[in-house]
């Protein structure tokens, strides 16, 4: 995509997050969308492009009263929204639409109006993984990690430290689900989910949503909010089967998506002021820091331990508290994007002073998919 040709002009999360028993899944999409429209000073009739995941774009367009000329229903898990931003930027540049609304909503905790979990025994994963007793991300996404720890001579304490430092960020955010300080012992002493993962190394399960509105950089100047420009983007997929990923110590999708985004943005790692790496589990920031090129293979744990990503560090990461402590409704990529946008607007709860470039990196369907968006607040 062309650098800085498209900008975010509206962004918001649902009015409430955490436990929202009064809203079904589609209303969480709509609540976030209405908040983002208000943020941008727009009405639903001003939207001519729509992208969503988890609900059909058709359902969201009908519910909100939108007549789109461009539709994207890419659904590859939690990083779908990073891909929507990328696709929307291309569509706006191509003139397929002018103003795109991207929505997410998930009743992850209350399970009201949420999509049923399919019991699949026919797909390759259904035939060659499900029979071995895997049930969802906690017992699948975590499988490569013992190999990673052994390869780089790391320990469970290194995993626990990721949760500890993200809790420091969460403490600065009034909307975080959990704010109390944690120690490595607290993390290791929490209930065992799937060795070596304890509960505090796993993301929350909450209700919530978010929405983003994009338009051309040229039009963005006329909107009430400070524009946040899309500087570079990347995306890729690898495999829906965790057992078949090429390298248990690295994600091919991360590498392809990250490299593409940095190439499009024309920046180096030193230029990055703020970083979001989707942390469904404590190992993801480790893989992300390495696969995006911020650290050499095996060095991310020391990088985190030495407080480089902590408050006051040189590369503030997951400053909302992350999926581990802020919120995680199921497809968290939307919240990583929201925090990057807030940091670029200068409105984050734990604002990084003078931040000009933010990288938002998502993962989807275990290590199956990845999307990366690099934002800047300088035209």
């Amino acid at each position: 995509m062309k650098q800085n040709s498209v900008a975010v002009v509206g962004a918001a999360e649902t009015t409430d997050m955490g436990k929202v028993p009064g809203m079904s899944q589609i209303m969480l999409h709509a609540d976030a969308a209405l908040n983002a429209l208000e943020d941008a000073g727009l009405k639903p009739s001003d939207i001519d492009g729509i992208a969503t995941a988890g609900e059909w774009p058709t359902s969201i367009a009908h519910y909100l009263g939108i007549t789109p000329t461009w539709v994207d229903g890419t659904l590859v898990g939690g990083c779908s929204f990073m891909m929507h931003v990328r696709h929307a930027a291309a569509a706006i540049n191509e003139g397929l639409c002018e103003t795109v609304l991207i929505t997410h909503g998930e009743s992850g905790r209350s399970r009201i109006g949420s999509s049923p979990y399919p019991m699949d025994t026919v797909s390759l994963a259904g035939q060659f993984e499900i029979p071995y007793g895997v049930m969802g991300p906690p017992s699948m996404f975590t499988i490569p990690v013992l190999r990673y720890l052994k390869e780089y001579d790391l320990t469970v304490e290194d995993l626990a430290m990721v949760s500890v430092i993200q809790r420091e960020w969460a403490a600065k955010n009034p909307r975080s689900s959990f704010k109390d300080p944690l120690t490595v012992d607290d993390v290791l002493g929490s209930s065992m989910i799937a060795w070596p993962f304890t509960k505090l190394m796993c993301c929350l399960v909450t209700d919530g949503g978010g929405a983003i509105i994009l338009t051309s950089a040229e039009r963005a100047k006329d909107f009430p909010q400070k524009p946040v420009y899309v500087l570079g983007t990347g995306e890729s997929v690898e495999t829906p089967m965790i057992s078949q990923m090429e390298d248990f110590c690295s994600s091919r999708a991360f590498k392809v998506s990250g490299a593409k985004a940095f190439e499009e943005a024309g920046i180096s790692h030193d230029d990055v002021d703020h970083l979001m790496i989707y942390d469904a589990f404590a190992h993801l920031p480790l893989y992300g820091l390495e696969d995006l090129g911020f650290c050499k293979p095996g060095e991310a744990a020391a990088f985190i331990r030495e407080r480089n990503t902590a408050p006051g560090g040189k590369l503030p990461m997951n400053t909302n508290g992350g999926g581990l402590s802020y919120m995680h409704s199921g497809m968290y990529g939307m919240y990583a994007l929201q925090e990057s946008i807030r940091q670029m607007r200068g409105t984050a709860a734990a604002q990084i002073e003078g931040a000009k470039i933010s990288v938002s990196h998502g993962v989807g369907g275990m290590f199956g998919a990845s999307g990366t968006v690099i934002f800047t607040n300088e035209a």
Partner: protein, 136 residues
């Protein structure tokens, strides 16, 4: 809590040979006749070069423990914690499995331990390949 039953695979035309082989006590892989890549899971073409000229062959059943978790949440296949593992086969491909005839503890499951296939019949149609410590 009563022991729950495993979710069992539903074979498709592209995978039927694998499940027929497992029922007969054979672990079947496929190899490309053009580029000689050995691969899994089954499909009637080579995922490396796209050739439809592929052959089914019997694997040695030997491999090593690549990685795993020990699942402690209530789950379908056991009342007690059990390992969900990935074995890397001698021929190269990897597959998910459970490790049997072995304690389900980190101490009893060191990475790189040598494994060999064993078969556990589930019903008349489906037999699952599982792995046990080599020589157990």
């Amino acid at each position: 809590m009563a022991k729950m039953k495993r979710m069992l695979p539903t074979p498709t035309p592209e995978t039927q040979h694998f499940w027929d082989g497992a029922r007969d006590g054979e672990l079947l892989l496929q190899r490309c006749d053009d580029c000689s890549d050995a691969y899994f899971p089954p499909r009637p073409f080579c995922p490396k070069c796209g050739s439809r000229k592929v052959s089914v062959f019997k694997a040695s059943g030997k491999g090593f423990l690549l990685s795993y978790v020990i699942n402690t949440r209530p789950q379908p296949i056991s009342e007690t914690p059990y390992a969900i593992a990935v074995v890397e086969l001698e021929e190269g491909p990897r597959m998910m499995t459970n490790i049997v005839e072995c304690e389900q503890t980190p101490e009893a499951l060191p990475l790189d331990m040598k494994l060999e296939v064993t078969f556990e019949q589930q019903n008349d149609d489906i037999t699952l390949p599982l792995f046990k410590p080599a020589g157990a």
